[in-house]
């Protein structure tokens, strides 16, 4: 319990924690002290002087934003002296502020406007001309009007303290202080939009919504972002049929008002002109033609029924995107399992998250995190393995930054990136210990970590006595392996030691680990690591897999994969089947369902006759070598529910227009298991319908009515069926490690695949392709959806291969040159750019532009979880035009932390 002090503000007593600022204490009793530079997120700066108050026994007025409460303090905020001070400060600020409110986008939500009204200054003693800045181009997305600036430096401080980007500077001094990027160049940064949102006036605004509408003319919808698994709360500001802008509010949501470029600037795909607006059906001429819902649905229901009758329910499969709401996902699997009667269904959680979900369920009994974002912030050691957190999960990245920068947590990173200060933040710059792990080697690094736990004598004594067999067999398996070649052994051991020595520690894992061969085993091995340290069941400790898509967690929990019923519960689990049959009043099919790759194989073999694909585009998501297109072409019936006419939709017999998240009601479940509301900001575009509604209508016409009045009714059923959804809202039931599962794992469960989990794995195949290429997320794009968002295209409109500047220099490659990449499966020619954070010998290519890689990637399916691994490959690099021999990278270099 924090120590409390009582102070008197304007005669009202209030008890607050020691260390609270006067301005915050005042706010709690509804006294709003005017301010510009103060923001609860930022350290006090007290530069604007607006928040002056009278404090008894202090000779001068005090800035309430930097004065800490003390017992018995008497504060007055509304005396004539204070009022006069506020007026004077405002007069100074207005001395230089232009009277351009009519053309200023901040008008209507401007602090300066509000305070000017409050203090109604009617004149000014200043007769000098106002300062005028030369106007220049600032950036494609962010507009700067320095004449309006009040020099509160909130933007500069936010960019440094919260984002760790430090892209903004306050150049010059005094009245001519100016917010600039480096040397007056156009802004090049993370484009999180934080400066736009935190600016109290109209000095920094968004260009995407410039001169559009006044704040009060727009409709607001509080909803949840549809990009990554972080689950940020955001506000869609809409007018008519268009999203005008996205905002967030401080103190709100898991993101606490912070957003990333995708969240803040990536909304325009919703209103993209290519959105599908009517159902399309392939007709006799072989082309897709628009039809009405009334025409398409009965015919489609009949076709599905025919196929079911002719070939059995097992001839029909389904695939759904984990970008759909829980309600869509739940109804999808229910539709597949009951209306169709097939267990052949899958979701995009298959691309990696099932690896983590399966491992967590197996060891700790729950597929959820046992920690939350608060635990990340409070941790004193954080271990990041293959997360690329800033690019893939930017807001979790902010939590990590907060832990390190504000609370002094020790950051340990096993990442592909190496420390290097550039225009976007780089989490490894904050590392206390960094082990550079080349693409595809994270699984080996994890095995090294477990070995280090033994070599450094970090194993919990209580565990050794309680589960001696487990410890000795893991010891034998893990220590029999050598430390992974090419990784810094000393650093790896130091990481294990530092992590074990912490009071609270969280392991964050991401796509570089989970979407690479050994992803599933690595997740289990990390749970071994936590068990061995004796920390898995400790509060504040846990393994936290990050998800690429916003609702992968929901997809697993809704049972939208072949192996899981809602819960998730194993399809073969008798108790779960009984429970679900009770709720559904029908039995789910007992057959073992096929996952995505198996369905494609079955389609190719001709046993799968029809597929229903909701919002996913396997033709693009899987490499050409997976031959998804030819498999889908063999189907008798391919139905696709989509926003756009994707590569997959182009192959379909029936394309049904679906609503985007901006038009839907429902819920998303984020990485950490928070179930959050999705609210519509727009009416459905054209004739599009929510995915669940389409499935519901189909079920009715197929004679197996799954009827719901609205999405809320589905949620009601979900809450009855799935334990994790009983308590929703701001403080849901935290997931707990189930003692029974751990016990079972320690006695028997661990042994079943022990040799496979601790084998050195296939050595990287020695071939002539010596560069390691990783395909992954970037800060500005996620999947194909973001490439339909104009704002994000302004930041990055094509995929460029990124290499280390030293490598580029050796090869004689300049920024923008093109190179030919060759792998065992194909070749591609792409432009090149350089970044110091990409280690030498490694290449990176943005996943959102993977079309450019054509046939380059190959695919390795996971033998256990069926995850298609296709993001790490080995290539040769040739500068196009020179025709010179391919040159290899230098030997692997080991980079230590700072």
């Amino acid at each position: 319990m924090a120590e409390m002090v009582t102070i008197l503000i304007d005669g009202k007593p209030i008890e607050v924690e020691k260390g609270t600022l006067v301005i915050e204490a005042a706010r709690r009793i509804g006294v709003m002290i005017p301010h510009f530079c103060y923001h609860p997120k930022l350290k006090p700066d007290a530069n604007c002087r607006m928040c002056l108050v009278e404090v008894e026994k202090m000779p001068k007025l005090q800035t309430s934003c930097s004065t800490v409460v003390a017992e018995g303090m008497v504060v007055r905020t509304n005396t004539p002296v204070v009022d006069e001070a506020h007026k004077s400060v405002l007069e100074f600020i207005l001395a230089n502020h232009p009277l351009d409110c009519p053309i200023c986008d901040q008008g209507g939500r401007c602090d300066l406007q509000d305070f000017s009204h409050r203090y109604t200054p009617t004149g000014s003693q200043f007769t000098d001309t106002k300062r005028v800045y030369e106007k220049g181009f600032f950036s494609p997305l962010i507009e700067k009007e320095m004449n309006r600036c009040v020099s509160c430096l909130r933007c500069v401080r936010y960019c440094d303290e919260i984002m760790d980007v430090k892209a903004l500077a306050n150049a010059a001094r005094s009245t001519m202080t100016e917010i600039v990027h480096f040397a007056g160049h156009p802004l090049d940064c993370e484009f999180c939009g934080g400066c736009v949102q935190i600016c109290p006036v109209g000095a920094i605004t968004s260009r995407l919504s410039m001169y559009e509408f006044r704040p009060w003319m727009m409709k607001r919808a509080d909803t949840t972002c549809g990009y990554c698994g972080d689950g940020c709360s955001l506000i869609l500001e809409t007018r008519g049929e268009k999203v005008i802008e996205v905002m967030s509010s401080h103190g709100n949501g898991r993101n606490n008002g912070d957003l990333c470029a995708k969240g803040f600037f990536g909304y325009q795909y919703v209103n993209h002109e290519d959105r599908l607006t009517t159902p399309l059906v392939r007709q006799a001429d072989g082309n897709l033609h628009p039809v009405t819902w009334d025409e398409v649905l009965p015919v489609l229901a009949e076709r599905l029924t025919q196929i079911k009758l002719a070939h059995g329910a097992d001839a029909i499969g389904g695939l759904i995107s984990a970008r759909c709401t829980n309600e869509d996902l739940y109804l999808f699997q229910k539709f597949m399992r009951l209306a169709i009667g097939s267990n052949h269904l899958d979701s995009t959680a298959r691309y990696g998250h099932v690896n983590a979900a399966r491992a967590l369920r197996r060891v700790q009994g729950t597929n959820r995190w046992t920690v939350s974002y608060e635990d990340i912030v409070q941790a004193d050691a954080l271990l990041l393995i293959g997360t690329q957190v800033t690019a893939a999960n930017p807001i979790v990245g902010l939590k990590v930054k907060e832990a390190v920068k504000k609370h002094g947590a020790t950051l340990l990173t096993l990442e592909t990136l190496v420390p290097s200060i550039e225009t976007t933040s780089n989490i490894t710059n904050l590392s206390a210990l960094h082990v550079a792990v080349p693409p595809g080697r994270h699984a080996a690094a994890v095995r090294g970590l477990v070995k280090a736990a033994f070599d450094e004598n970090l194993v919990d004594a209580a565990l050794s006595s309680r589960a001696g067999d487990y410890v000795s067999r893991i010891r034998a398996a893990a220590t029999a392996l050598p430390y992974p070649e090419g990784l810094d052994e000393a650093a790896l051991r130091a990481v294990a030691k530092a992590f074990a020595g912490a009071r609270r520690g969280v392991i964050l894992i991401g796509q570089d680990l989970l979407q690479a061969p050994g992803g599933h085993e690595s997740a289990v091995n990390l749970l071994d690591f936590l068990l061995l340290l004796g920390k898995l069941t400790q509060p504040g400790w846990g393994l936290a897999p990050l998800t690429e898509e916003n609702n992968e967690q929901g997809a697993v929990e809704m049972g939208a994969t072949a192996e899981y019923l809602p819960g998730p519960a194993d399809v073969g689990d008798a108790a779960a089947r009984t429970q679900i049959a009770g709720a559904w009043k029908d039995q789910p099919p007992a057959s073992q369902g096929m996952h995505l790759l198996e369905m494609l194989d079955a389609a190719r073999a001709g046993t799968l006759k029809a597929m229903l694909i909701v919002g996913e585009n396997p033709v693009r998501s899987l490499p050409l070598s997976a031959k998804a297109a030819s498999a889908l072409e063999k189907l008798d019936l391919l139905v696709v529910q989509e926003l756009f006419l994707t590569e997959t939709a182009k192959l379909a017999d029936v394309v049904l227009p679906a609503c985007s998240y901006a038009e839907k009601t429902g819920t998303f479940t984020n990485s950490e298991g928070f179930v959050q509301k999705v609210r519509p900001g727009l009416e459905p575009v054209g004739d599009s319908r929510p995915d669940w509604e389409i499935l519901s209508s189909l079920s009715v016409m197929m004679g197996y009515p799954l009827e719901y009045g609205d999405a809320k009714e589905i949620l009601k059923e979900i809450r009855a069926v799935i334990p994790g959804y009983r308590v929703l809202g701001a403080k849901p039931e935290p997931a707990q490690v189930a003692a029974k599962s751990v016990e079972q794992y320690l006695t028997r469960g661990f042994a079943e695949d022990l040799p496979a989990r601790y084998s050195a794995g296939a050595a990287p195949k020695a071939n002539s392709h010596r560069w390691a290429l990783a395909v992954g997320q970037t800060l500005f794009h996620s999947g194909a959806m973001s490439t339909k968002a104009q704002g994000l295209l302004e930041l990055q409109h094509e995929g460029k291969l990124i290499m280390n500047p030293a490598d580029a220099q050796r090869l004689g490659i300049a920024d923008g040159d093109r190179v030919r990449l060759t792998s065992t499966s194909g070749e591609a020619t792409v432009p090149v750019t350089m970044l110091g954070r990409i280690p030498e010998g490694t290449l990176f290519f943005p996943e959102s532009f993977r079309e450019a890689l054509a046939g380059l990637p190959s695919m390795t399916p996971d033998p256990v979880t069926g995850v298609p691994y296709c993001k790490q490959l080995r290539v040769s690099v040739d500068k196009v035009g020179t025709g010179g021999a391919s040159s290899g990278p230098p030997p692997a270099r080991i980079a230590g932390g700072k």
């Binding site: 903004l168 150049a171 010059a172 990027h181 480096f182 040397a183 200060i421 225009t423």
Partner: protein, 177 residues
């Protein structure tokens, strides 16, 4: 990669950084070093310094712009800084500027076409008893008259220095050997 710093200057850098408890402390001296090298602080130099000190280029830039004594554009070989603070102003800063203009044809902020002289006005240079005065590169020239100014400028143009230079003044005066 080419550097904005000469080899000799680069060798001094680790020593300069080592003088400070925090790397960032070496920012001002390194900017001076850059200015010594090139006569001004170039963008390339700022980026290099940012790299050494774990700062971002915008952070270096904001420091450079705060201090007027860092030049952000190339200047002439000889930088004439005329004190314009109160004491000098009272005894003829304006006259001095006029003499320089008459002699070299440049006004404040301008550089002679031959690239030799750049004229700036600066705040107090600490020679309040001996105005009007100017500083050319590292040397002071005080109690200036038009004749004296002309002579100084002629000498500097011809030889790079002038015997009329005064100082450096130190207080307390160093003990005589």
């Amino acid at each position: 990669m080419t550097s904005a710093f000469s080899k000799a200057a680069q060798e001094r850098i680790p020593g300069i950084i080592a003088r400070y408890a925090e790397k960032r402390g070496a920012l001002l001296p390194l900017l001076w070093l850059a200015q010594e090298e090139q006569g001004y602080v170039s963008e390339e130099a700022m980026k290099e310094i940012a790299g050494w000190l774990d700062l971002t280029p915008p952070q270096v830039y904001e420091t450079v712009t705060f201090y007027t004594m860092y030049n952000r554009r190339p200047i002439g070989k000889y930088h004439i800084q005329v004190c314009r603070s109160l004491m000098c102003a009272l005894v003829g800063t304006d006259n001095l500027l006029g003499w320089i203009h008459a002699k070299l044809g440049i006004k404040t902020g301008q550089t002679t076409p031959d690239g030799l002289f750049t004229l700036s006005q600066v705040e107090c240079l600490g020679s309040c008893g001996t105005g009007p005065m100017m500083q050319i590169n590292d040397d002071y020239y005080e109690r200036l008259t038009q004749d004296k100014t002309n002579r100084v400028l002629d000498d500097v143009k011809r030889e790079g220095k002038c015997p009329l230079a005064t100082g450096p003044f130190m207080f307390p005066e160093p003990a005589q050997k």
